[in-house]
Amino acid sequence: MRKGFTTAAVVGLLALTASACSSDKKADTATTTKAAEVTTTAGPATSSTTGETTIAPASDKGEGAVNIVAWAGYVENGTNDPKVDWTSAWEKESGCKVNVKIGNTSDEMVQLMTSGEYDVVSASGDATQRLMAGGEVVPLDLTKIPNYADIFDALKLKPWNSIDGKPYGAPQGRGANLLMYNTDLIKTAPDSWGVVFDAASPSKGKVTAYDAPIYIADAAVYLKTAKPELKITNPYELDDKQFAAAVDLLKVQKGIVGEYWSDYTKTQQAFEQGSIILGTTWQVIVNGAQGNKAPVAAVLPKEGATGWSDTWMISSKAKHPNCAYQFVNHIVSPAANAANSEYFGEAPANKKACDLTSDKEFCKTFHADDEAFFKNIYYWTTPVADCGDDRGKVCKPFADWEKAWTEIKG
């Protein structure tokens, strides 16, 4: 009897191991607002993966759902904050149920898009180029996105959202990665990225950095000013010497880093609890922490910063192309773009959005049409071997950045 009981216990234990393993998998989606359920509505035949042909749906009728990969704070339906909602009304109107999967890094977004299970992505410049080159996204049929006409010309047909004058996406907005600090513990606002790269920092062990290879560019932005002899012109076009300097700087930084972050909820919590008091951040995290009464503020340091210019793109394997088009047209519409960019804290892409923000100075504060301001912001771009200048093909491609990042973390 007793032996039988023990055997049963061990069998139960094994079953629990199996269930524990399956709950591990859920960790990936734990931070998403909604599980991205993939409905298998019979959609019209989509184009081949060459990426050269547009999706040609048989009719314009919605398919009942749209699966989206987005940055945190881009697709809000009121579940995080009842006042923050620019999706649920559209869902009712269009009949397309919105399923969102939050991407924590551009690399993760590219990986999710290659799975073919998502229709739409809000991709930053370092993801868009890989998606276009890989044929994962299609050129857009602009007749289906009337709101495209109102987008600032400065954001249209850029290398990161078009090929040969064909638009591959509808711009969402742009902004800078900021330097956040705890105002209780750091009394004077830092004005340089130098504070996060200082081996003798008084904030040692409480500094954070973004956990992605693209963060190497942040070190390069700082070195551009701090070490002019390296002659860095573009933080994404680094030759051997410049790259080595940036990597060395990040290895020094590792000594004062407490935690690297890619999950935005975890970094927000760390700032609120005070286990992290200084480091790179997004405006949406600042807003969230300040909303919870945490003593934090963020600045744009004098060296400038890395930043992003995001684009809504449609998958070449989209199972819900009509809903995807309708969603993209909706999300870049003046009202949605205004609400969205004001919540996320970035410059909106739609000119008419500036009249609809609740803060009338918003577009001015975020320099929506101030090209001089954005000269100091280096949009995320995929590094390639071709430096793009007379140095030729001696720059470090992304694969090297990725390897270096593993080595930096050690």
Binding site: T6, L13, E407
Partner: protein, 294 residues
């Protein structure tokens, strides 16, 4: 009607069993097909697919799979010192977790099996299993709150190790402890009390009895438990991500190679390290008979 169907079934069943008795080889084959298919397809098949992927490579820019055979991933693994560092760190932590779990589990299992009354014993087993009823993630985040600055530990006036390897070792030891206690408990149950009494009668003190009587008898159980704790730690990446601060484990690196770099082949090549480590471990313990104790 129903009885007719029933009797027909019985006759078919009878015919089948008679056929089986006359052709023992076919009977054996039929019985084994299911389990063998499961083992070959689900387990060995997935491992083989992983191994094959390790010999491919990805296009550096589009990160698309390029299916031409090469040893580049293994060469890179051998050349890059950081993978060696991470491997040793992971094995070191797995070893520490195993030792800590053993040190806690042996006295606990002994108390449960030899000192507690039989009816309490069952309650104790349930209590040991209880933590497994809540999700692994919930437990990990709970420990994040314990270790965090200004968290439960500091509030209780104790020094917190902060996020890092120490916190990871503590969390993993807590998570895997039941997997160590149960096999050892089962081992103690099989150990007759008369042996302990005989040892005492012959003048064996506690230490001597433990070394000469208990330890040899429960060794297979210890090894069985250590297989659980060691392999679970080798494969973990979530607990490390939650309380590990900036430390990387093999699991994190494999996840990053797949999720961040989109480099499935290199991730697959790296995954062979824990597989090889476990195979070496299992082969070396096979002769101790511990595997029959699982």
């Amino acid at each position: 009607m129903t009885s007719a169907v029933g009797s027909e079934r019985t006759t078919t069943g009878k015919r089948l069993s008679r056929f089986g008795q006359q052709h023992p080889n076919i009977k054996l084959g039929g019985l084994l097909t299911g389990p063998v298919l499961w083992l070959v397809l689900a387990y060995i098949g997935s491992l083989a697919a992983l191994l094959i992927a390790a010999f491919w490579r990805v296009d550096g820019f589009t990160t698309k799979l390029v299916r031409n055979w090469n040893l580049g991933n293994f060469r890179e693994m051998a050349r890059t010192t950081v993978y060696r560092t991470i491997t040793f760190r992971t094995i070191g932590v797995a070893f520490a977790v195993t030792v800590i779990c053993m040190m806690i589990a042996v006295p606990m299992a002994f108390t449960m099996a030899k000192i507690m009354k039989p009816n309490r014993r069952r309650l104790a087993v349930v209590a040991v299993l209880m933590p497994l009823w809540s999700s692994y993630l919930v437990k990990s985040y709970a420990w994040r709150i314990i270790f965090i600055q200004g968290g439960v530990l500091e509030w209780a006036g104790l020094p917190s190790p902060g996020f890092g390897l120490t916190a990871t070792v503590i969390l993993l030891s807590y998570l895997w402890l039941p997997y160590m206690i149960l096999p050892i408990y089962a081992g103690f149950e099989r150990l007759p009390n008369s042996l302990l009494e005989a040892s005492a009668d012959l003048g064996g003190k506690t230490g001597r009895t433990f070394r000469s009587v208990i330890l040899p008898m429960i060794k297979p159980s210890l090894i069985a438990g250590s297989i659980f704790t060691f392999s679970l730690t080798m494969g973990d990446y979530i607990a490390v991500g939650i309380v590990g601060g900036k430390s990387q484990f093999l699991g994190n690196t494999i996840y990053a190679k797949f999720g961040t770099a989109n480099n499935l082949p290199l991730a697959a090549a790296l995954s062979t390290i824990p597989v090889v480590a476990m195979v070496i471990y299992l082969m070396s313990v096979r002769r101790t008979g511990a595997l029959e104790n699982l």
